[in-house]
């Protein structure tokens, strides 16, 4: 856990891995992003990134819709040292684990349905980190800063 910018988690949502509940999570993160002071365009970005992370949990983590749980944690990050404030979103499932090193964007030159979620998340968020919690499942941590961070950017600005 990084020391900088820490705040206790303010919002935690548990949803069943059902597509019909994605809109609930989207609404929550949209509002949280607005409250964190993100510009509207970036509010749209984090909402889409969350959606893609949840979709990945449902499809790949659990192999499809089911009654298992996905946890979404949202917290506002305060400015600290060289980092701007922003919004952190963590999506946690308890399904299949994969090596985070294997989670990569696919070749976009190959026009085909599917496989865009990872690329979309990386493109929209300032930080993306996949991990395998000790008690199973996958976790993705995504951060959107209020201003461009001083870190090496993972993706271009949209």
């Amino acid at each position: 856990m990084k020391k900088e910018n820490l705040l206790e988690h303010k919002i935690e949502i548990h949803i069943a891995a059902q597509p019909e509940y994605l809109c609930v999570a989207r609404s929550a993160v949209r509002k949280a992003a607005q409250l964190a002071g993100l510009p509207e365009r970036h509010v749209d970005h984090v909402t889409l990134a969350l959606e893609e992370a949840l979709t990945n949990s449902i499809r790949h983590g659990y192999g499809g819709p089911c009654s298992e749980t996905i946890i979404i944690k949202i917290r506002k990050l305060l400015p600290c040292d060289k980092k701007a404030g922003g919004l952190e979103i963590i999506v946690r499932d308890f399904g299949r684990q994969v090596d985070p090193a294997c989670i990569k964007s696919r070749n976009l030159d190959n026009i085909k349905p599917g496989g865009l979620g990872v690329h979309i998340i990386h493109s929209l968020m300032d930080e993306t980190e996949y991990s395998c919690p000790a008690d199973g499942g996958m976790q993705v941590r995504m951060v959107k800063y209020l201003v461009a961070s001083n870190l090496e950017p993972q993706q271009h600005a949209i």
């Binding site: 597509p19 019909e20 994605l22 809109c23 989207r26 749209d44 970005h45 909402t47 889409l48 959606e51 893609e52 979709t55 449902i58 499809r59 976009l108 026009i111 085909k112 349905p113 599917g114 865009l116 979620g117 690329h119 979309i120 493109s123 929209l124 949209i158």
Partner: protein, 118 residues
């Protein structure tokens, strides 16, 4: 011209036929929840082999990669029989996913339905 209430409970609000062109009106959030139904509907439409199909997205507020995948599949189906698939009325919020996936140059995208039909 035929106007029919196609699926009032889903994103497919209306399917219209106009001089051999099929116009599909979508509305709401095009996400994983509705993607399966939308995909089925698009396949049905493409099975008619319309020379031109226009998907009106002016009332779509959100689209994720699942929604995008259904459009890509429809585009591929249309190309197989030499038809055209055009998108119309994409809002800025929805347009970004096309840009991120570099599909904004693959799809024919028009500001309005009228421009797409011209």
């Amino acid at each position: 011209m035929t106007a029919a209430k196609d699926n009032p409970d889903g994103v497919v609000q209306k399917v219209r036929r106009q001089s051999g062109v099929i116009i599909l009106d979508l509305a709401g959030d095009v996400d994983l929840h509705c993607a399966t139904g939308l995909r089925s509907r698009l396949i049905e439409i493409m099975n008619e082999k319309p020379p031109l199909a226009v998907i009106n997205l002016s009332r779509v507020d959100f689209m994720d990669s699942s929604g995008l995948a259904t459009l890509i599949e429809a585009l591929q189906l249309s190309r197989r029989f030499g038809g055209q698939l055009r998108l119309a009325g994409i809002h800025e919020r929805v347009r970004s996913i096309f840009e991120i996936a570099r599909l904004d140059t693959i799809f024919q995208i028009f500001n309005t339905e009228a421009e797409a039909l011209a």
